[in-house]
Amino acid sequence: MRNKVFITLTCGFLLIMMFIAPTIRLLDRVGIISTEKMGNIIEPQKVYSEDVPLAKMLNGVEELKAAIEDTYINYLPFYAHVVTSVKNAKYNLNEPINRLLSELGQKAMTVSADVVDKLEAQETTSAIEETTAAETEQPKEDKPYIVKHSYKFITNSGGTNFYVIDAEYNDGRKVSLITLALSTPPNLIDRRMKRSAELVNNITAVCKEHGVKVYFYACSRLQDGENFEQYIPVEKSLKPKVDEFFSLLDPYIKYGRLKVDTLEESIEKLFLTDHHWNAYGMYEAYCDIINMMREDTPSILEPRPLGTLYVVEGADFYGTNARISGYYECKDTFFFYDYNLPKHVLRASYPYDFEQRKRLYLEGRFDRKLSADHYVNFYPYTEYLKYDNTTGRNVLVLADSYSRGISELLGSNFDETYIYDYRRIHEIGNLRQYIAKHNITDVLFMQYSLRGIFDNQNDNTLHLIDLN
């Protein structure tokens, strides 16, 4: 009897789960129910190039596997609730020890800083005076500035340390944000960075042969800025590494990065709880990119003026950083700009219309769940854009999810824009043939610095482009 009950319960549970996950997926697909999405993208782990025997079949198998894994992870009942609450509970459980270790770390650092100070004091006193003056210097502009900030460690996940920074402006406004610090060992950072540069250079060599101009734009974040250590003294700024990466690039490549050197800039340009750029950050990146390209090609249209701002009431946004770390004490309020773009063709992975999306958001008809990712929900996964311009410029953008927010605006300055997320990069096939077929004049690398430069997830796919 006991064994029967045990088997009924355990096997019953497994059997129910076997059927329930695909059922939820099916119902979600046909629109009968709406599941919470956690931005948990599951893709084929391998892509077989065409020279591998049975490549088509093997790629089909990989896609089937990914679909099965996706079903049995993202469509499990209450998946989002479980992830959210368990991660939050873990954060709370570990918090006392985290605090203790932080205090011990701070003490250790203060002691070692004191030792360094004493040694330096013996060498020169004037240097200290200069440093002190720089630290206390106030920003010259009238913009509000941060007068106080503190940080605390939240968790480590996926090769990154998550911190929350609490900041206070001179006008009394308080802001908290979650920021990341790469925790990959330095030698691995170096190796991956050099590999990333090599892959970009290999593609550039082909572009150069075909007279195609090449640009690299890093979607930066706070750690890429020079002041990062002021905010999180136990971490190191990656600015020297970013500079080293740029120095490794073929001189043919023009490069730039979103300037996020201060906490104020981070708050202004990036989401507080998500790793992506916010609508203002996108605009600044857009201007940077267009201005950089116009230096070579003045026929490219000038950057558009900043659009009309819409702050969406009630669109609370807990981004990827909040969801991964389980820290829900701070949030974003979603906002976007309307640039009143001219009529154009937009092809995305699903039918998309900005006006319709805008209307839905302004009417409050958006996903209000805790796990709602407004960046993903609002901006499309754009693959192709065509504007009625006569610039003579067709751009190939090698990007990642950062392209979602910026593509429609960026494409408005060119004739045609082809966008390949790193997940689809293999679809380009042979680059020479692609350039010829689509009359590509410019190639733009535009990726999250953690991916495009440091390849943090070890998922750089640029090698999948056929350069022969």
């Binding site: 064994n3 596997k65 894994e69 479980v82 203790l100 070692s112």
Partner: protein, 472 residues
């Protein structure tokens, strides 16, 4: 595919048992096992499935050829030699070619390109299984299997396919054709499977995060505290990871009516290193004992010859674990300890159990340093940190920050305490006591079901799930 993955738990496993029990005949059930096992393997290695099919077919033919000849005849010996050489060549090419070339380059200062060959998952396990079969056929210890599908079902059986235990053909030869699947066995198997899953998902993975985190920093940063935390956690990680997998394999086997031999017997309670090895990875130790150590003469030889035998066996044991100099050193490390234990200090240690425990633990923990380190220099660094060579660390980052970033928190501490307690036969005693009282069985079942839920939750939220023994 991993046992500790949601597609396995919620799709593969239920589907397999539905189809398996839908077939009434033994032969059909074995075919179902074979087909599902190939799918299971192909999930991770679609191309290497052909290597496995070749291995099955090749060994099937050679075992038939050996069985056809008179035992001990020159022809039988020749077939046997060819079979062993081809099997060792396969594992040699896929697992050791790169290492071999690196060694040649290092010794000769040549610059031969190192072949980059992906390691087929579980090749060490299934090669040893098939070798045991062919050798046993040669010795006349088992009847040759005339049905290739039955041999395939044995060799590729998904429960033990990729991370052991090494199931010898003679263990399950009879059960392959005549076994009983009963409700009681199925329930026991399920309990054992859940126990293994919990060991892996709740304990080993929690330990792994901290170990990997700490050891990704420099020893000068994590210092003595970090080094000991890392190595104590690794000591638990490797035990719960591997014994968890063995539990799952044994449990799955039992659900199908197979009775695989135990692979672990509370190794951390051992009072000597020799005893530790009688309790740790038993299927591997007995394999080397029966197929290498005893044929070499075992311990019925002169002392110098015995030392040589031990050296050969332990060097092979080390190499079996991985194509790297670390593993060879790890094997030799145990050879030296076991030789000295027998010849010098064993008799003294066994008289004081407490000293024996401490001595054995220290030997094992330092052994794991060699095993875990990714290079020879890393072995030195970790050991130096453990004996205080880097003080409290903090050369660039305070050791407390290293611990913090590595996930050292309350969850880790709780799981570590649980791991230490359960590494002794406490649960066994508790289970016996509980079963003595009326509600004991119900409590055991409730605990098993209660363990399944957090496992599923952990699997759902975490992606940290690689099995250590996959690389073997």
């Amino acid at each position: 595919m991993l046992f500790s993955s949601l597609p396995f738990l919620f799709l593969f496993l239920p589907l397999f048992f539905v189809v398996y029990f839908a077939c009434k005949k033994r032969y059909a059930r074995n075919i179902v096992l074979l087909v599902f096992s190939l799918i299971f393997y192909a999930w991770g290695e679609p191309l290497y499935i052909f290597l496995m099919i070749f291995s099955i077919a090749f060994n099937y033919v050679f075992a038939l050829l050996i069985a056809r000849e008179e035992r001990g005849s020159a022809k039988a010996k020749a077939y046997m030699a060819v079979d062993v050489v081809v099997n060792l060549l396969l594992i040699g090419v896929f697992k050791y070619a790169g290492f071999f070339v690196e060694c040649v380059n290092a010794v000769t200062r040549l610059n031969i390109p190192v072949p980059q060959i992906a390691l087929p998952i579980g090749i060490s396990f299934y090669t040893f299984q098939i070798l045991s079969y062919v050798v046993d056929v040669y010795r006349g210890d088992v009847e040759v299997q005339k049905d290739i599908f039955m041999l395939g079902a044995y060799l590729s059986g998904f429960p033990q396919l990729i991370a052991g235990p090494i199931v010898r053909y003679q263990t399950i030869a009879e059960e392959l054709v005549d076994r009983q699947e009963t409700l009681d066995e199925f329930a026991d198997g399920m309990r054992r499977f859940i126990c293994g899953l919990a060991k892996k998902v709740l304990i080993a993975n929690t330990m792994a995060q901290v170990v990997d985190g700490i050891l990704s920093y420099s020893a000068a940063d994590y210092g003595i505290v970090g080094a000991w935390v890392a190595m104590l956690a690794y000591t638990m990680q490797i035990y719960y990871d591997f014994s968890g997998y063995s539990d799952m394999a044994i449990g799955l086997g039992r659900m199908m009516g197979f009775h695989y031999l135990e692979n672990f017997d509370y190794p951390y309670i051992a009072k000597t290193v020799n005893e530790f090895w009688r309790r740790w990875h038993i299927s591997l130790s007995t394999f080397f004992r029966d197929y290498l150590y005893i044929p070499l003469g075992g311990n019925r030889v002169s002392t110098p010859r015995w030392v040589l035998n031990m050296f050969i066996v332990w060097a092979c044991t080390g190499l079996w674990h991985g194509a790297s100099m670390n593993f060879v050193i790890w094997g030799i490390y145990y050879c030296v300890i076991l030789v000295l234990e027998r010849l010098v200090w064993g008799k003294y240690i066994s008289k004081v159990p407490a000293v024996g425990h401490i001595y054995t633990k220290l030997c094992v923990i330092f052994g794991w340093v060699i095993f875990r380190a990714e290079s020879l220099s890393m072995i030195g660094e970790i050991m130096r940190a453990m004996v205080g060579g880097y003080g409290l660390g903090g050369a660039e980052i305070p050791a407390s920050i290293v611990l913090q970033r590595s996930g050292f928190g309350m969850q880790f501490i709780i799981m570590f305490v649980v791991a230490v307690v359960l590494s002794a036969p406490v649960s066994k005693l508790l289970k016996k006591k509980l079963e003595g009282i009326g509600v004991g069985g119900i409590l055991t079942d409730a605990a098993a079901i209660a363990a399944l839920i957090p496992c599923v939750i952990e699997l759902a939220i975490g992606s940290y799930n690689p099995f250590i023994y996959f690389r073997f």
